[in-house]
Amino acid sequence: MQLKAENISFRYTDDGPFVLKDITLEVNSGERVGIVAPSGYGKSTLAKILSGYRLPEEGKVLLDGKPLPMTGYCPVQMVYQHPEQAVNPRHRMDKILNEAWQPDDELLRKMGIEKSWLTRWPSELSGGELQRFCIARVLGPETKFLICDEITTMLDVITQAQIWHLLMEISEERNLGMMIITHNMSLAKRVCTRIVDLTKLNNVHSHTHTHIHDHEHGDEDHVH
């Protein structure tokens, strides 16, 4: 399968500056494509467009030549940078984990999710523990592509390593296509099969405005 962005342009307001301009890029099943660029080059915006969270102003997002489905389970799933914002604070972890499908014990073991965490509330788990849930819940059989938007930026190095090992293993095992957005060039070199430099791909000339949006969407490169 192939996920393709075709001449995508995007801006947040009708008369604002373009955040993305004429982007064309494709990800094939089994590929892990790294998207690297400094803050403000529209990495997160691109992730949201490719996973169908936002519609591009021009251009198309195609999955095997067809537009992404707007209803039902989306075969392109995204994992966010801040897991604590991506889970409902009023739900227990088992409800969050099983929102779309029922991961089996084997996957939970691999993901390093302990059974005792399932009865806890999100506020009682750490960021790394929560991120494992956020990944596990979108690894359902219908998921064909996974967009990872800075998913380990705020985690400690050990957790980072564990999560990436696992994602590499799963992507190979299931022939999953992945798009990995990161600031970290050495991580990208280690994990990805191909690296795309968005600064070269994006034809936007002025970046003075775009970084504001990036701030808004929590795309920060401070590692805590």
Partner: protein, 286 residues
């Protein structure tokens, strides 16, 4: 969360105390308010009947709150009055909160001109002094129980509407709701699993905190003579009557009914604030 560092028994005792105390306050307030409401509802009118032999009796064992210029027992009359006020207040705030829930959700869900219209209505209502609008509506509808109740209903929804609207908008744009849509959930499923459970606690607390407003305003409008009729026992009626005799030293006519109104209003606040503490997920386990 800080309790994790305590030993098991310590933690258990701490949680027990705090939560029990708050729960007991809420239960006490509810029992008192419901008790007064029901007591007044089923009270024999004879107990506050006119008795010219016992005019202006100061508080004693037979008449704990004294009697008024017609010799009516003020204690029974106060209970009946408070009960009337509570029932009108609860009814009015309930309907008012329905308006708020409907307007708030519609405004957040549909957006566009619906949102603009709702905001315009909210601004319009909040821009006018509350009491003036209350008097205007009550007077227009011919005063009495209907006038007051409808006036309170139509003036108390704006603040709760704003809260509901903000809550729906916040949860609607949250990442977990967006993610739920991408996981194939329908609008109804998202509304039932994510949006309603998020909005309902604030809504219920807003509703409870609306009661004292409704009751106070009902009493004020009645006090000013635009509300409940003179013959009906109501805190506003009692207080306005007591004004005529206050200068002649009949203090009990104003003090006790005033205190009862104050206590009822404070107790509603106690319920609302403590439920907030119990339901908030951040402090729910404290």
């Amino acid at each position: 969360m800080s309790t994790h560092t305590h030993t098991h028994t310590d933690k258990k005792r701490f949680e027990f105390n705090r939560k029990t105390f708050v729960t007991m306050m809420v239960i006490f307030a509810v029992v008192y308010l419901v008790g007064v409401g029901i007591w007044g509802l089923f009270m024999d009118p004879e107990s506050y009947a006119v008795n010219y032999d016992a005019k202006f009796v100061s508080p004693n064992f037979d008449h704990p709150f004294g009697t008024d210029f017609m010799g009516r027992d003020m204690f029974s009359r106060c209970i009946k009055a408070l009960s009337n006020s509570l029932i009108i207040g609860v009814l009015a705030s309930l309907f008012s909160s329905f308006i708020a829930l409907f307007m708030g959700v519609a405004s957040a869900v549909f957006g566009g001109w619906v949102d603009k219209f709702v905001n315009w209505c909210v601004d319009l209502c909040q821009g006018l002094p509350h009491l003036v609008l209350l008097i205007l509506i009550s007077f227009m509808l011919g005063k009495g129980v209907n006038g007051v109740t409808l006036a309170v209903i139509f003036t108390h929804w704006p603040s709760l509407t704003r809260i509901v609207r903000a809550e729906v908008m916040q949860v609607r744009s949250s990442q977990y709701v967006q993610a739920a849509y991408k996981m194939g959930k329908t609008k109804w499923q998202v509304a039932a699993t994510h949006i309603l459970p998020h909005v309902i606690p604030s809504y219920v607390i807003g509703l409870i905190l609306l009661f004292p407003h409704a009751i106070m305003h009902e009493a004020s409008v009645t006090f000013l003579g635009f509300g409940l009729p003179k013959e009906m026992p109501a805190i506003g009626v009692i207080l306005s009557e007591s004004m005529d005799y206050l200068a002649t030293g009949k203090w009990w006519l104003a003090v006790f009914p005033g205190l009862m109104l104050l206590v009822a209003v404070v107790l509603f606040d106690v319920i609302g604030d403590n439920l907030k503490k119990l339901w908030n997920p951040q402090s729910g386990n404290e």
